[in-house]
Subunit: 407 residues, 2 copies
């Protein structure tokens, strides 16, 4: 495989596809072969089974069962959470689908801060995803907390040493993205979590670019709290409901700040006094969106079926291949790599940097190749293990090569 | 009409349907005539156009446009909010669809409390919807605030006098449901809002059972803040996204606590420092669920087309009719009315009380009549102006009569 990965011929790409055990999954999605799609890490492709599932939910359940649909819809947030759990290395009863990533991040971060009330600092990094940074800023302002901003290498991401340098017993929470949205750098979740615990802090991991692309090992690594979205590698659809993870050992102890009727012990008694059950249900809030949940479930099922180890192996192969093409075709024409070269430190996308990245992205899109531009100078090439073929990577990067050649 | 309303014959019901200007709207929904549906105030029926709209969004937009769909999806929360605004008596730029009712209620209540930081009390009523009460309890606990619980007449709901009795300059916020979820009592939004303003307090109205069933007059009545759901009378589908209203005059001044990237001035610059625009966009948080939004839009369009005045007129006629049948058929067999008799004080459902309400509700459902049971003793008969016919009301209440007769 290493030799094939180093070849830039279209035939080599086809050979890689032939040898790819996940190749059959591409047929389980709606795919327009005229497009090279490098943005499934922003919005994953449409699973072929999703329209029929939605038709069943809309006409069969909403249309016919009417309000009686809630007899089974009520269970969906935890049912789909349990389905997702193995992809994250979590256990049954530790994951729920609910709300947006931002709302969940806020809720769990408040829960963590409340559990460490006597401490005054939050640790995160400047290259973290904007919505995480804004939520942290809002809570720090509201509660008079200090934010300890890490300034890691923008390509390699935050290291254990970066984090360890600011840890002390005044740190309430360490919160980072497992995979950085721009560079794809993987933060060392295991060692950073352990270091945070060593000073008595809690961790909140944002898994948005990790879920369904790399193993996370939440339980194995003793993670406290995590959130993430299901519309990227999990192919749940535009604005699909997010997930949250709360380690079983913390569920009875932690609270979240939005006391809603879906977090109430006997919801339909509609009784006096909020009294949340001592389990994952206390992290639910309001009425879940059933259409979005059903679509998320369809996407998640496909990733579960493929298995995270096979997904990870293909993600590494795809990104190694894209980097080989980058080095052979693009670097000589002025690009640099904006992602770690060590595959063990890189998620399933590759950032290609160029001073004209914004214009190049627009020109690629005009040519049927869809990457994403990320400030200030990155073309983000998302390579989604279930839906991106090597031939597609070859085709899309060929277009970028031609654009660079023609200036 | 008054005479016809007082007749209990099936022919009279048919005559009422023939004279009903909104009767044609029933054909715009998927309706199983074997069922009498009295719970459209919990989950509204499926609009006939919604499956096709979802098919377009799923296959046409998500499937084909992929991430480029965000070019138009991004506008949807405010676009659909503007569409909904006239039903609430609000103006363009004052309403957004987002999150769940509970999350929105929390966010706006925090915004209001932050704007009245020096005050220590929240006013609400014991019969308020549970999720509102729980959110209030959570915030009162977190911020050390006093809750002034009104104990109004359980059928007639909170009056101006009830509210005025506890108002003083320590009250930060008065928050009530416009239409009570159990009794359908309408709170006097205009006078209560004015009284709250007289002591310098802000109001947050929960419009869940009012939106699309009665005129609200948000701007006319100088309302500050409001939330509500779109899956009841607005027929948006199970767990459809909720709405929030912020009066234009308050938008630059108020903040909400969850600082997310959808509330950021130049969202995709992904820059440092949260900097929300001085308008309704600052009340957005995370990525909106597009499937749910599209379905909500379809439902809302139908109510807008019908117009709130025609909807209100039919709602009064339906509930007057149901009460006439109740008085003729049911009261002699042991029920009492759990809703106000004055139609100007009653929303679009009717509560029928009976000691065996729970068992009767189950027996009705087994007979194809779907009401809702509400603790401790109410059978809630929802009469949705766009989708409930007089014949359907006749048929459903006949079943209840037969059940009471047979003991």
């Amino acid at each position: 495989m290493t030799e094939t990965l180093a070849s830039t011929s279209r035939e080599a790409a086809a050979a890689l596809d032939s040898a790819d055990p996940l190749a059959p999954f591409r047929d389980r999605f709606v795919i327009d072969d005229a497009v090279a799609y490098f943005d499934a890490n922003s919005l994953g492709r449409l699973p072929a089974g999703t329209p029929a599932r939605l038709e069943r939910v809309v006409r069969g359940e909403w249309g016919r069962e009417l309000v009686r649909g809630w007899d089974h819809w009520l269970a969906l947030p935890l049912e789909v959470g349990d389905r997702l759990a193995p992809l994250l290395g979590a256990s049954t009863g530790e994951v729920a689908l609910a709300d947006s990533t931002t709302v969940n991040f806020y809720r769990l971060l408040v829960g963590a801060l409340d559990a460490r009330r006597e401490r005054r600092a939050i640790v995160t990094d400047r290259p973290n995803f904007p919505t995480d940074r804004y939520v942290i800023e809002g809570l720090a302002a509201a509660r008079g907390l200090e934010i300890r901003w890490l300034e890691p290498d923008p390509i390699e991401g935050p290291t254990l040493a970066d984090v360890a340098a600011v840890l002390d017993r005044d740190v309430a929470v360490v919160t980072l993205s497992h995979v950085n949205y721009r560079s794809a750098a993987i933060a060392d979740l295991a060692s950073i979590t352990a270091a945070a615990h060593d000073v008595g802090a809690l961790v909140v991991w944002d898994l948005s670019h990790a879920a369904g692309s790399i193993p996370v090992g939440l339980d194995e690594n003793d993670v406290d709290l995590a959130v993430g979205c299901t519309y990227k590698y999990l192919n749940g659809g535009p604005g699909a409901p997010a997930f949250l993870f709360v380690a079983a050992r913390l569920q009875a102890e932690l609270r979240q700040p939005i006391w809603g009727w879906f977090g109430q012990r006997d919801q339909f008694a509609m009784g006096r006094g909020y009294d949340p059950p001592p389990d994952i249900r206390r992290f639910l809030v309001g009425t879940p969106g059933i259409l979005g949940l059903a679509a998320a479930d369809e996407g998640i099922r496909l990733s579960v079926e493929a298995g995270i180890d096979a997904i990870r192996a293909k993600g590494i192969a795809l990104t190694e291949y894209a980097i080989a093409l980058h080095d052979a075709w693009l670097a000589p024409r002025g690009t640099t790599l904006g992602s770690p070269r060590d595959p063990s430190r890189r998620g399933s996308h590759v950032a290609i940097r160029h001073p004209q990245a914004r214009g190049l992205t627009a020109a690629m899109i005009a040519s049927g190749v869809i990457p994403d531009f990320r400030e200030p100078d990155s073309i983000r090439i998302g390579l989604s293990p279930l839906t991106t073929s090597f031939e597609e990577a070859w085709r899309g990067l060929s277009v970028l090569r031609e654009l660079l050649e023609s200036g």
